[in-house]
Amino acid sequence: MRRQSDDAMTLYRFVMMIPRWWLLLMVVPALADEGIFDQYRDLMGDDNPAIFVIEEGEEFWVQSQGPSAATLEACDLGLGTGVTRGAYAQFPRYFADTDRVMDIETRLLYCMETLQGRDREVIAAKPYSLRGDFGTELEALVTWLAAESEGMTIAPEQAHPKERAMYAMGEEIFFYRAGPHDFSCATCHEQSNKRIRLQQLPNLTEHTEVAEAYGSWPAYRMSQGLVRTMGWRLQDCFRQQRWPGLIFGSEVSIALQTYMAVNAAGGVMTAPGLKR
């Protein structure tokens, strides 16, 4: 056991409530460095609320749904029918049945459509939770599948020409400046040891940093009480870039995920992560 003294127990229980005022504390000078969040994460230990989202995701995988009353167990995530272990770590990848490079979120929707007979457009219209929601099916599935790759090496396929083309396009988009503020992904993510306000920024052009960042998504965001996926992360980045809305499952979304995954290749999947 880690903490047995009464004091530690009291503090432990206290912190576990994930108080909202933790965010307010960020303005206190003594907490200006990142250290306090590392301490907080240490206290949380392996207590990531995502454990329950993982359970939910597994339940969704085996639940009969849609007009075909089928489960997702016959879904091919790239490693063969129904193979979930290690599949996340190899996305995005090319699928011959669609002749496209797909990220895991797009692939799951494809399986819901083809196996369960569900309407892709309906699910794609609201893939992610809004504030106050308790998590979507897609978020739960992605969280479970990420957990099925925990500890494994990030190894996206780059054998097919379309996979390599997707990487090249991702790189171009990463540096593409547009909008009233002239922002690109690179504005915030091509330098090391920088931060916005107090938020540390990973350099996504540098292997070690991108591996740590990419490998930690999906992640439980304590400030939102939800698991967020990489697809959501990209949408929210573009909102802050003052760009229009990034379409779920779009080429740009998959290209940027490919760019990050390939730069991160060789790193380790640690998701679901725990983030502020």
Binding site: M1, R13, M17, P19, R20, I51, F134
Partner: protein, 103 residues
Amino acid sequence: MAGRIKIRAQKKGELTEVKALMRHPMETGMRKDQAGESIPAHFITEVAVLHGDQTVMQAHWGAAVSANPFLGVRFQGGQAGDAVRVVWTDNQGGTGEGETTIR
């Protein structure tokens, strides 16, 4: 939606570790919606963890606790197979409950 609690209880040495994720909006009453109307306060006021019939933890909560609160508690005693319950009530009279057995 109200009342959903995910709960897990595990024996670790002499202690039983309970983890629970409650689904609750935990509205402070201070926020406004997009139309500028106040969103009514709606938050959990009391939480308890029970081992069988015995209350092993009781807490008074308020609006400062985040949405979808995650609770971790450890207590002494408890054997594999024993029932553990987490219950809450909120300021609007809502209640929630989750039960599991110690693993």
